[in-house]
Symmetry: C2
Subunit: 293 residues, 2 copies
Amino acid sequence: MAEKDSRRKSREKRKAGLRELLRVPGGERVDLSSYDTDSVPLGPGDKSAGKAATSRMGEHLADLQERLFAASTAGDRRRVLLVLQGMDTSGKGGTIKHVIGFCNPSGCRVRAFQAPTEQERAHHFLWRVEQSLPRPGELGIFDRSHYEDVLVARVRELAPREEIERRYDEINRFEKTLADDGTTVIKCFLHISYEEQRRRLLKRLDRPDKHWKFSPSDIDDRALWPAFQEAYSIALERCSTSYAPWYVIPSDHKWYRNWAVGRLLLEHLRELDPQYPKPDFDVAGCRGRLLAQ
Amino acid sequence: MAEKDSRRKSREKRKAGLRELLRVPGGERVDLSSYDTDSVPLGPGDKSAGKAATSRMGEHLADLQERLFAASTAGDRRRVLLVLQGMDTSGKGGTIKHVIGFCNPSGCRVRAFQAPTEQERAHHFLWRVEQSLPRPGELGIFDRSHYEDVLVARVRELAPREEIERRYDEINRFEKTLADDGTTVIKCFLHISYEEQRRRLLKRLDRPDKHWKFSPSDIDDRALWPAFQEAYSIALERCSTSYAPWYVIPSDHKWYRNWAVGRLLLEHLRELDPQYPKPDFDVAGCRGRLLAQ
């Protein structure tokens, strides 16, 4: 009976779309080991179907992105912020290349967050994030984000524990303000397994054209894998909210990761349903003036 | 004999690549009416060949862009700044969509310059430009630029004439500093005819999904066409320098414009010849550590 119930729930989730399926409920303890990293819960079932589906999605994404941008020229303040987080090699950069690559670069604002500079450290941790937010009509993409301040900062004790504890609420308030101001916040945790990370790091070492992506510090971070997973669990539990939910993306398969992030973005853009603005000028009159010129 | 000479010169130019062919000599009076807007001086000869050639160029652009970015992680400060200028509908946005669209969004910094805000006007006209420059390893793209301050500013007398006159030298000094600091500056004037602009503006009026790109003020600007062409001529004459040359791109054919700008970018990137950095860590040692983890 319980199994039947769970199957029904799962069917309902599928119907509700990928968002419902991958969304972290929030407020509940998150056990990341119970989330498959190599599953393909909805959508295409294999690599070639996945790549084809992602490619087909490209033009819909580009079309909706153009509409979002067009709407902003008539005062629509809505915009989208895609936050990508995950362990080294989880594919934050690859997702940007293969999914955001479909979009018009003019409407995208990509920002990669590294260890804060001296100037950034002198400010509140959200200061540098505020500088990088998408403007109305834009699609903003964060490759890492303010979550580093409760992830690596927690694991490596870069701030006093009570300050770290305060930050979760600060992040929630910050994201509530973004949402109220018309920003659709989509936060994706690209979830890979410990073994898959090893394979990818080894591949980086095997290929001279990938060496630049590798740093010995990646191995030091990897030694802290359980602590990082724990830090992610806490962030997902405390900061997956109705106005800025977290999604766990099974990311051992790059093609599935790309499809799933693209699909999430598409579902959100479709819901926003941005419209080309109606002209606020006399079209026929302008045509006449042009023909007379 | 003169004709033979001119044919020989033209052949030599072709061999030297698109750069030599389209580059404005600088320091000489520029007569824009002598530059064809619908010619296809080098490269593919028709639309379908042009589109195919541009598409093939895409992966080379993406490869070199990745190398440029990779090199920056090892201290290479080189970067590229592509400046796009042209009358309304000349295709600044289209070029970004169709050419820069091949590149990895993570390594691109696109900035569109509109009429300066109150804050921007309170600063020197180059201030907002400095905020928007590409970082080492990046490809920066300006949709309009500091040249607006000697173009629309000159035509509409937005500043005293003696200040406008001073700006050409200020721009040259600014661009010299950029070049000395490792920035390859590529400035493209997308050159269309008066008739082609009319066709494109009419098309924007005909299509509801293009209305947002139209503004009645475009017609007012168009009425000042000769003054704008003159302002462009002066800017090209005074600011096409060895360290930051101007190129006139025949832009009546969108497919040729895309191919030509892509090709210019490609020629410059090939000359920069950025290399993946050599590892500054012990590859075998790291592999061993990873396998033991």
